[in-house]
């Protein structure tokens, strides 16, 4: 067994007779159905089960036409047949406990999105990782985004020189009054989380934060203005809001000033300005062949990466590294604490 609890692969001889990954989905909300559809459409996978404790969600999934075994829980599903892995599409508060049960059952686990709502949940999940015997992965679609992957590569190769400053923003048009607030969660959980994971992947972990924020329509944050202090000594300033008009799609923007130029990267386009160059180079997402996987949907993109992980184990700077997602949960907690303390610097728990 490898030393890293996330770093396993499944030997081919342990697969089903037809050599497909037998995957189940736990949690049959919107995201669970997206993953069920992605698994059903993937020729290398078999949708081997669906589970949810809510009868209305189970009934909806069956009404959609999925014929895989349906159960109220993972143990009940396992009574119906063997599985290789499970995708946890539950509300984040339920993920740590469900992950522990999946580890115990010896299953590979994919956790799309937020893996826990708070530090306690993140700690619980981290502590249980040592019991996992199969691959454990986080599914954050933006980490498979080709424009951000190019940006990361460009910065890593050092062609622009050392990074001097990083500014970032993430915004979307969703909440414009109390009636459009979701039942749970704030702008950090719904909008900023994936971006914080991306920043961690590109620039390394944050060790402290100071933040200001606004609660416009309820008790949760609707906007935040954040400074992250990085372990490397640098810092990132970023703004996030879900109350900006004109952004039906989430806009993630990153502006990096370097010694010899500047990079403006977003989920839409990548612009590179080398000092002394007459015009900046511009690349748009639609112009990239590698953007096609993402066009088919986030579930397809992360599922592809997950099945690669199942076959080959973890790679360097793996986009599915769960540790990074757990660190982001700690960062969000520190941001909330700093907002409550009116911008006071807060350490991010290691």
């Amino acid at each position: 067994m490898s030393q890293d609890p996330q770093d396993h692969s499944i030997p081919p001889h342990e697969l089903s007779d037809d050599r497909r990954w037998r995957l189940a989905v736990l949690g049959l909300g919107r995201r669970g159905l997206e993953y069920a559809a992605a698994i059903a459409r993937d020729s290398g996978c078999l949708l081997a089960g669906l589970a949810d404790s809510r009868s209305d969600l189970r009934s909806f999934a069956r009404g959609c036409g999925f014929q895989a075994p349906l159960a109220v829980s993972l143990p009940r599903l396992l009574e119906r047949g063997p599985l290789d892995g499970v995708v946890l599409c539950l509300p984040a508060a339920d993920v740590p406990a469900a992950a522990a049960r999946a580890f115990e059952a010896g299953l590979a686990v994919l956790v799309p999105g937020l893996p826990a709502v708070d530090v306690a949940g993140a700690e619980r999940l981290r502590a249980n990782l040592s019991t996992a015997t199969r691959p454990v992965a986080s599914g954050i679609a933006v980490l498979t985004h080709p424009l951000f992957a190019r940006t990361a590569h460009m910065l890593a190769t050092g062609s622009l020189g050392a990074v001097r400053s990083i500014r970032a923003s993430v915004q979307v048009s969703r909440v414009f009054g109390p009636t459009s607030l979701p039942p749970v969660g704030d702008v950090l959980e719904h909008v900023a989380f994936e971006f914080v994971v991306l920043l961690d992947q590109m620039f390394g972990p944050a060790v402290a934060t100071s933040a200001r924020g606004q609660r416009l329509y309820g008790s949760g944050l609707d906007e935040a203005h954040v400074t992250l202090t990085l372990a490397t000594g640098g810092s990132i300033t970023f703004d996030c809001s879900w109350s900006v008009p004109g952004y039906p799609r989430t806009a993630m923007v990153l502006e990096v000033e370097c010694e010899r130029g500047r990079v403006l990267a977003s989920d839409d386009a990548l612009e590179q300005e080398l000092d002394g160059a007459a015009v900046p180079t511009r690349t748009v997402l639609a112009g990239l062949q590698e953007g096609h996987a993402l066009e088919w949907g986030e579930a397809h993109a992360t599922l592809q990466a997950f099945t690669q992980r199942l076959a080959h184990g973890m790679t360097a700077n793996d986009p599915l590294d769960l540790a990074r997602a757990l660190r982001a949960v700690q960062v969000l907690a520190a941001i909330r604490a700093s907002v409550t303390a009116l911008g006071e610097r807060m350490e991010v728990l290691p």
Partner: protein, 290 residues
């Protein structure tokens, strides 16, 4: 598979980019949204489109579209893209179809029609079938489009592709039957998975009047593999209306249109976000269609 007897429109102007995210540069999407913020500007564009030869609008229900159509004081044929799943629902755990709509002006007739739709699909409605949920949602939404203007129904891709992945053949049969009967026109499906949908529809013997899918030389949106999508376009039987002709803004409209028609598309479905001169460019597409 026989050729469908109902004829789908061949040139359709899409206004969906005003309401749902489309593959286009963000600057361009914002520019178009600003241009058509006033209902009068949208109304003028609709008139120009019809005069240039567009046979219908492809639209989702929205107050802006309703206001523009009211400005016109004349019927504008609408190919309705339904159900319309509100963007804000992505903050919720449940699927959109399980979230009640918050209609500010509930229409008694649409409520009755939704009930009739459920009864007409017995026993599927007792089993919580997707087709019944979709038909009921469509009944509520069609009222805000002005159902006398609706000449056909296209099921939104999020729903089409969910039922397709689940292998739900009866959903496709039921939606075709419901769409034709309800609006007295054509019924079809928009998809991001054209190759697989065409293959499955042929296997199941289901004959919608049209499908809507991306087609452009760059292969943008032609998932999972452009070559398979080209083969599906060329396969006789189910007409395809080609959309995303500019491939997210990287190509020219005319090139995209020529590519789609050469590969077997029946018609063209450009969006406002693809057009600078609505009248002029639609006229040029009409000439290409012959």
């Amino acid at each position: 598979m026989s050729t469908p007897t109902r004829r789908a429109p061949r040139l359709v102007l899409s206004t969906t980019s005003l309401e749902v995210p489309v593959r286009a540069a963000r600057d361009r999407s914002l520019e178009v949204a600003n241009r058509f913020r006033e209902s009068e500007s949208l109304a003028v564009a609709l008139v120009k489109a019809i005069e240039a030869g567009a046979e219908a609008l492809y639209a989702v229900p929205s107050p802006a579209l309703r206001a523009a159509m009211d400005e016109l004081k004349r019927p504008v044929p609408v190919l309705a893209r339904l159900p319309h799943l509100p963007l804000g629902d992505d903050l919720r755990h449940e699927h959109s179809l399980l979230i009640p709509t918050h209609d500010e002006n509930p229409d008694v007739w649409s409520g009755m029609r939704a009930g009739i739709a459920a009864v007409s699909m017995l026993p599927a409605s007792l089993q919580g079938d997707l087709a019944v949920r979709v038909a009921q949602r469509i009944e509520h939404e069609a009222a805000s489009l002005g159902s006398r203007d609706v000449i056909g129904l296209a099921i939104a891709p999020e729903i089409t592709d969910l039922a397709l992945a689940a292998g739900h053949a009866r959903f496709f049969e039921r939606m075709v039957r419901f769409g034709r009967a309800r609006f007295g026109g054509v019924a079809g499906f928009e998809t991001r998975d054209l190759a697989y949908l065409v293959r499955r529809l042929h296997e199941w013997g289901v004959e919608p009047d049209f499908l809507i899918a991306a087609a452009n030389p760059a292969g943008v949106g032609m998932t999972p593999v452009p070559l398979e999508v080209e083969a599906a376009l060329e396969r006789p039987g189910i007409p395809v209306l080609a959309t995303e002709l500019r491939g997210g803004g990287v190509g020219a409209l005319a090139e995209g249109a020529r590519y789609a028609l050469e590969h077997g598309a029946l018609g063209l479905l450009p969006d406002l976000v693809d057009l600078d001169d609505v009248g002029g460019e639609l006229r040029a597409l009409k000439l290409l269609l012959g």
